[in-house]
Symmetry: C2
């Protein structure tokens, strides 16, 4: 469910190479009676309970007795049911935990980052502090806070019930105000997943930093496309997983793969 | 972006009526050139930046210059672009922050809860403590932990990169093992949103409790369908938003609406 990932650990501007446990994120496809019913990002372990629960809560089956067989091959599960003509007819809606993007990610179709931005250490820790200090976040919880910042500090902060919505909000602000995104970085109160990495790549934002963790798939895509991912920014500490040269002073520390 | 919601506050088994700020969650539909391109759950404020950012990160527009007009009426935004024949062709994937359910919610199609379950106070606080004590959560972050429990304690715990996947996992476990779900409650490390409430309703799980916040829409649906929602379970404290009689001793405290 996780794997060791090499990184550069920073603390108060000093750096050392290290490894850190990163949670696995994998694409998963579900076919029912030969027809694709969903694709999701999941933790790729023990999928039977998930499949049965999903089919039930999506009202594709009334109970486990309607399942004839489940066959799982790598990231594809094929289910046969006793009600072969039942289909999922309801409108599909993007969820409040996420919102925004619901696009599949094909890294080869993404343009690598083009930017020579190098960030001062303090710009990153200061902006994370600022994004975490959201009044709404403190008052009510349950809201995601995302910022778009530059070397001189915060440019725009946005909050939304959907993490990806908040990303779209700051990117939309940058677009509408003609901001050079190759000179910016994104900061987030929440986890860095493949989809938020994808949004940064589409928008050519060269660095993403978060107080939280990153997923394995987010790091694989970021590594491929040249995005700098910084996780666990807490106080004066941070883990730089990819492109450490974008953080002032961290470029000389080797990441061993 | 939030509203006051009445609740019963519990602390170490003592109760008082109060109100608490709850974050707003609303359904939002986006039409581009007369065609529906998405429906999402959002924070219903300042939507222009979100719309422009979404259209850009989904590669429906190359920049804000391709937008002719944005018209927003209540929860529906209609956009006209200068590239009227561009469509979103990529595969839609459910996101890692959520996973699982992507169904729209029509409360009228949901069956109200049928259960006479009343829970001891300690069963709730103990199970939240247990679900938060996940080793993986502590080690790597970035993972959601959900449990299905009964009055006597935890029945099954599941972790997944997608919050809703973790719910589907424990529901799937209950189905496969013939557990009477009307005698169970769900505990979660994360926010309670409309979709997790919907999963409990489909599975006839009468109580959902979380360390985190609940959204306004989650509470509205729960209130309608008779689900007991308990938020901010921390140490000996909790906020009971709906059906307080399901918590031992809280049934006599008035919720003023």
């Amino acid at each position: 469910m996780y794997r060791a990932y090499p990184c550069v650990r920073g603390e108060a501007g000093r750096f050392a190479s290290d490894t850190h446990a990163v949670v696995e994120e994998a694409a998963f496809t579900l076919n029912v009676n030969g027809r694709n019913v969903m694709a999701a990002m999941v933790s790729p372990v023990d999928l039977e309970d998930f499949i049965v629960g999903y089919l039930f809560t999506e009202e594709i089956i009334k109970g486990p007795g309607e399942i004839e067989s489940i066959k799982i091959e790598k990231s594809v599960a094929s289910v046969l049911t006793t009600n072969p003509f039942r289909v999922t007819g309801r409108k599909r809606v993007i969820l409040s935990g996420c919102g925004g993007s619901a696009a599949g990610i094909d890294p080869k179709k993404l343009k690598p980052i083009e930017s020579d931005l190098i960030l001062p250490y303090d710009a990153i820790t200061d902006c994370i502090r600022e994004v975490m200090a959201s009044d709404l976040h403190r008052l009510i919880g349950g809201i995601h806070s995302v910022g778009l910042a530059g070397p001189e500090g915060m440019i725009r902060r946005a909050e939304d019930i959907g993490r990806h919505n908040a990303f779209d909000r700051v990117i939309g602000y940058a677009l509408r105000n003609g901001i050079d995104r190759s000179r910016t970085f994104a900061v987030s109160s929440g986890r860095i997943s493949s989809e938020t990495v994808r949004k940064c790549l589409v928008a050519n934002i060269p660095v993403i930093a978060s107080r939280g963790a990153s997923t394995s798939l987010a790091l694989d895509i970021a590594e491929w496309a040249g995005l700098c991912v910084i996780g666990f920014v807490r106080g004066e500490k941070m883990n730089i997983y990819t492109r450490p040269w974008r953080v002032e002073g961290a470029g000389d520390v080797a990441i061993e793969r």
